[in-house]
C-alpha cells in the first residue's frame, strides 16, 4: 500500500495581490462588514482560551457577536500560553537599532527556513506593533527602564532588540490581559464561558462548520453546541511525544477531529525542539521544563573538549572547554536559532561529550555574566528561572552551571488555513498554534505569542466578518441528523474506550508512543527510521484499542478517560507526522533529514522539490497530499547561515 497519494494542488490562499505592505489594508477594506445591530444575531464558538482563543473571544464579544468560549481547564486563565516565559516580538524599533516591520518580516521568513507564506508573515509583522499597544493599555506589566519606558531584549536568531518581556513570565502576563478582557465580556453578557469542557467532535452540515460536540468533564454529559462559525484555538500537539514542554493536557483532539471532518492538516512534521530545557532525571518524568531561551543572552553554552570528562564543571579549565556555539557560529554565537542550537547540542552529546546523567546535557554557564554584570543584575534578570531550575534539580545555577538539553516545544504544523485564517471547511477558522500559518519550518523565539495575539485581537475579528456577513444562517436544531450523528460518534467512542477493560494504562501507551516519536521523528529523521516508526505505531495503536484499561464510567470526572481519548487521536496524528516527515526528503528548519545535510552537518534544503506547504487530506486510509506552492517575491531564498 502506498503511504499517501497526491491530490490537487492548492491555488487560492485568498491573499490580495499587490505590494506586500498594502495587502492587509486591502483585505480589510475589501472584506464585508457586519452591521453592529446584526452582530448579536450571529454566534461564534471559540475553542481554546490561550492567547489566541482568549483574545479572539474577548474581541468578538466586544464587537457584539454572541460568543461561546470553551476550555478544558477549570478557568480560561490556565491555558497553556500561561507558561510562555521569554517574551513577545514587535517591530517597534524603540531601541533605534535598525528594526522595522520589513526586518521582522524578513527575519521571520528566514527563520522559518523559507517554508512560510510571505503575505501572512508580513501581516504578522505589521500587526505586531499594535499588539504591544493593546497589551500595555490593558495593564500588562512589561519590564521598564528607569525612565519608565518599555524595556526590550534580543532573542535567538535575530540581531535587534525587539522582544518585550515581563520578567520570565511574559506569557502569563499577556494571557492574564486577554483573560481579563474575556472575563469583562463574560460579565457584559456577550461571552458565555464553558470551562472543564472538552471539544470531542466538529459538527459539519452541508460542508460548513456549524458547531461542536463537547463533553462536560465534571458530569460527563455530552453536549452539542451550534453556532454560525467555529474558531479553533486549541494550541499545539507537541504532547504526541509524551515528554515535551507543553502542559499535560495539551492535545490534538480538537484539530484532529476537524481534520477527520475534512480540514486539511498542514506540515505536521514541523516540530520545534527547544535547546534549553532541564534534562530528564528518570523514567518517572512526566514532562520537561523549559528554561527560557533568553538565558542564552548571558549564559554561555559549553561541553568539555574531551570525551567522557566526568570532572565537576568548576574543575575543568578554560582551555579544556568547548564553547561550541561561539566556535561554530561566530556572528550569532549562543543566540543561533533553536533548531541549530538543538542539533548542535545533540551532536556534541552524540560525540560522547555530553554532561550529567546519561551524558544527555550541556552546560549553560553564567559565571562570566555574573562577573561582568554582578550577581544582583543577573538575579534581577533571571531570578525566577534560576529558582525554577534549583527547585527541580536541587542545584543552584549561581554556583554550578545549569545543565540543559533539547526538548520538544512547539509545533509549526497545524490545520491549513487561508489568508483569512479559514480552514478548508467553510466557517471553520483556526488561530494560534493550532494553525500552520506563519512560522514555516521553524519558529523564531518570542513569535508564537505575537502570532497568537495577532490572530486573536486583530486578524480573525477582521476576517471573520466577511464570512459572517453571509448570514443570517439557517438555525440548526439539536435533532439535525448531522448533529445527532456527531454526538453518536462521540458516545460510541467513549463507550468503546470504557468497554475494552484491558491490562495497560493509557499513560503506558502514551509513553511508548512518545519514545518512538522522539527516537524516529524527533531531532533527526531518516527514511529507514520513519518507516520503522510507522510500522510500530500501527501495531501499538492496534494494541491500544485491544488492551487499554480505562476505569470508571463516563458520568463522572474521569481523568483516565480524558487521557485515553487524547492518546487515541495522538496515534493517528503520529502516523501522519511520520508520513509527512518521510515524504519531505529535505532538511528545513525543525525538520532534519539525515540524508539531506551539508558537509559540515547543517540542514540542506531542497527548494526545487519542496518549496511547498504539505497539506494532508484525511481519507481513513492513505492520506492525500495537496501542495501549496510557496513563492517568494520579497525575500530572496538563500541557504540560511548564522555563521
Amino acid at each position: 500500500m502506498d503511504l499517501f497519494t497526491e491530490g490537487e494542488p492548492i491555488h487560492d490562499t485568498r491573499a490580495p495581490d499587490g505590494p506586500i505592505e498594502e495587502r492587509w489594508d486591502q483585505r480589510r477594506f475589501g472584506g464585508k462588514l457586519v452591521n453592529p445591530a446584526n452582530r448579536r444575531k450571529l454566534s461564534v464558538i471559540v475553542v481554546g482560551t490561550g492567547l489566541a482563543g482568549g483574545s479572539a473571544a474577548a474581541t468578538l464579544g466586544e464587537l457584539g457577536y454572541r460568543v461561546k468560549s470553551f476550555c478544558y481547564q477549570d478557568s480560561p486563565r490556565r491555558a497553556h500560553s500561561i507558561a510562555a516565559q521569554g517574551g513577545i516580538n514587535a517591530a517597534k524599533n524603540y531601541r533605534n537599532d535598525g528594526d522595522s516591520i520589513q526586518r521582522l518580516f524578513y527575519d521571520t521568513v528566514k527563520g522559518g527556513d523559507y517554508r512560510s507564506r510571505e503575505s501572512n508573515v508580513h501581516r504578522l509583522a505589521q500587526v505586531s506593533v499594535e499588539i504591544i499597544d493593546q497589551c500595555v493599555a490593558q495593564g500588562v506589566p512589561f519590564a521598564r527602564e528607569y525612565g519608565g519606558l518599555l524595556d526590550t531584549r534580543s532573542f535567538g536568531g535575530v540581531q535587534v532588540s525587539r522582544t518585550f518581556y515581563a520578567r520570565g513570565q511574559t506569557g502569563q502576563q499577556l494571557l492574564l490581559g486577554a483573560y481579563q478582557a474575556l472575563e469583562r465580556q463574560v460579565a457584559a453578557g456577550t461571552v458565555e464561558m464553558f470551562t472543564r469542557h472538552e471539544m470531542l467532535e466538529l459538527i459539519v452540515i452541508d460542508g460548513v462548520a456549524r458547531g461542536i460536540v463537547a463533553r462536560d468533564m465534571v458530569t460527563g454529559e455530552i453536549e452539542t453546541h451550534t453556532a454560525d462559525a467555529v474558531v479553533l484555538a486549541s494550541g499545539g500537539y507537541g504532547n504526541v511525544f509524551f515528554l515535551s514542554t507543553n502542559a499535560k493536557g495539551c492535545n490534538v483532539t480538537a484539530t484532529w477531529r476537524a481534520h477527520r471532518k475534512g480540514a486539511l492538516f498542514a506540515n505536521p512534521c514541523y516540530t520545534q525542539i527547544h535547546p534549553t530545557c532541564i534534562p530528564q532525571s528518570g523514567e518517572h518524568q512526566s514532562k520537561l521544563t523549559l528554561m527560557s531561551e533568553s538565558l542564552r543572552n548571558d549564559g554561555r553554552v559549553w561541553v568539555p573538549v574531551a570525551k567522557g570528562d566526568t570532572r565537576a564543571p568548576g574543575d575543568i579549565p578554560e582551555d579544556e572547554r568547548d564553547y561550541y556555539l561561539e566556535r561554530r557560529y561566530p556572528s550569532f554565537g549562543n543566540l543561533v536559532p533553536r533548531d541549530i542550537a538543538s542539533r548542535a547540542a545533540k551532536s556534541v552529546c552524540d560525540e560522547g561529550r555530553g554532561v550529567g546523567p546519561g551524558g544527555l546535557g550541556v552546560y549553560l554557564d553564567f559565571a562570566e555574566a555574573i562577573a561582568r554584570l554582578g550577581r544582583d543584575a543577573v538575579a534581577n534578570k533571571y531570578g525566577n528561572l534560576f529558582e525554577m531550575y534549583e527547585r527541580i534539580t536541587g542545584e543552584d545555577p549561581f554556583e554550578v552551571p545549569m545543565r540543559i538539553y533539547p526538548a520538544v516545544h512547539y509545533t509549526m504544523g497545524g490545520l491549513w488555513v487561508d489568508y483569512d485564517l479559514q480552514s478548508t471547511i467553510p466557517g471553520l477558522f483556526v488561530i494560534g498554534e493550532a494553525n500552520f500559518s506563519d512560522h514555516g519550518a521553524n519558529r523564531l523565539g518570542a513569535s508564537a505569542l505575537m502570532q497568537g495575539l495577532a490572530d486573536g485581537y486583530f486578524v480573525l475579528p477582521n476576517t471573520i466578518s466577511d464570512y459572517l456577513s453571509g448570514g443570517p444562517f439557517e438555525k440548526v436544531g439539536d435533532d439535525h441528523e448531522a448533529v445527532v450523528a456527531a454526538r453518536k460518534t462521540v458516545t460510541d467512542r467513549i463507550e468503546r474506550l470504557l468497554s475494552i477493560d484491558g491490562d495497560r494504562t493509557p499513560d503506558s501507551f502514551h509513553r511508548e508512543l512518545g519514545a518512538l516519536m522522539w527516537e524516529y521523528c524527533g531531532m533527526e529523521r531518516t527514511d529507514e527510521g520513519l518507516r520503522k516508526a510507522l510500522d510500530r505505531i500501527r501495531e501499538l495503536r492496534t494494541e491500544f484499542w485491544g488492551s487499554v484499561k480505562v476505569p470508571g464510567e463516563n458520568e463522572e470526572l474521569n481523568q483516565a478517560l480524558e487521557k485515553a481519548g487524547r492518546i487515541a487521536d495522538f496515534f493517528e496524528l503520529a502516523e501522519l507526522m511520520c508520513v509527512d516527515a518521510l515524504h519531505r526528503a529535505e532538511s528545513c528548519g525543525g525538520h532534519f533529514r539525515a540524508e539531506s545535510q551539508t558537509p559540515d552537518g547543517e540542514a540542506l534544503r531542497d527548494d526545487e522539490n519542496f518549496a511547498y506547504v504539505a497539506a494532508w487530506e484525511y481519507t481513513g486510509e492513505a492520506p492525500v497530499l495537496h501542495k501549496e506552492n510557496l513563492e517568494y517575491e520579497n525575500v530572496k531564498m538563500v541557504q540560511r547561515s548564522y555563521k
Binding site: 507558561a83 502542559a247 521544563t289
Partner: protein, 249 residues
Amino acid sequence: MGMKLTLKIWRQKDGADKGRMVPYELEDISPDMSFLEMLDVLNERLILDGEDPVAFDHDCREGICGMCSLVIDGTPHGPQRATTTCQLHMRHFQDGDVITIEPWRAGAFPVIKDLVVDRTALDRIIQAGGYVSAPTGSAPDAAAIPVPQADAHDAFDAATCIGCGACVAACPNASAMLFTAAKVTHLGLLPQGQPERYGRVTAMVAQMDAEGFGGCTNTGECTAVCPKGIPFETITRLNADLLTAARRS
C-alpha cells in the same frame, strides 16, 4: 532504592458524597520525582488494580498555571515555601513518611471529586472588575504611558498571582483577600488602571463576599503559603482603596 511512603488521601466520589480518608502504601519512590509524579505512580497502580484513580487537578506542571491544588500535611502546596505542588519534589520527604493529602477546603470551593475543587468563584471576582476596560484597537502607543519603574515593579509582584486559591485554603477565615488584593494592587498601581480604580475595588470585594469567602482579619497565613509570594502589602493597599472609594461615594 526508593522511598517507602504511606499516603492518606481524601476520597470523595462527587459533590454529594460525604468523603473519607483512605490510606495507601507506596514503595520505590525516587527522590527526584515531583509530588504529582508520585501520585501518577499511585494512579497507574490503582488503574491496574481495577480501582478508581485519585482525581487531582494539574496542567502545566511547572508552577505557573495555578491548576494544581493539594493540601499536604495541612499546608496548601506542601511544606516548601514559594512552591506549587507540581514543583514540589520528593526529596523534601523522608523514607517512611506518612503524608496526608486533602483538597482545598472552603465553602466557596465545593469539592467536585477527590482532590478536585471548583474554583470558578475566583473567575467571578475578576468578572466583577478585575480588568482595565480597553477594547481591542483603542490603545494609544505603548510608549505614551510611562510607568515609574518602582510602580511597575510592585505592580508586577502583585500580577504574578496564579489564581491557585492556596491563600483561601490556608486562611483561617477562608478569605479570598490575597487573591483579590493582588489584582486590585496590580491594576491600581498602573496609570492604565486609574479610571476604574475605586469602582473596581468596591465591586470585587462585594463579589468576594457574595461568593461566601470569609473576611480577612490580617492573619497573614495566606502570604506564607502563596507560591508566588504575593506580599501582604497588597491587602493593605486594597483596604486603602476601598476606604477611599467609600469616602468618595
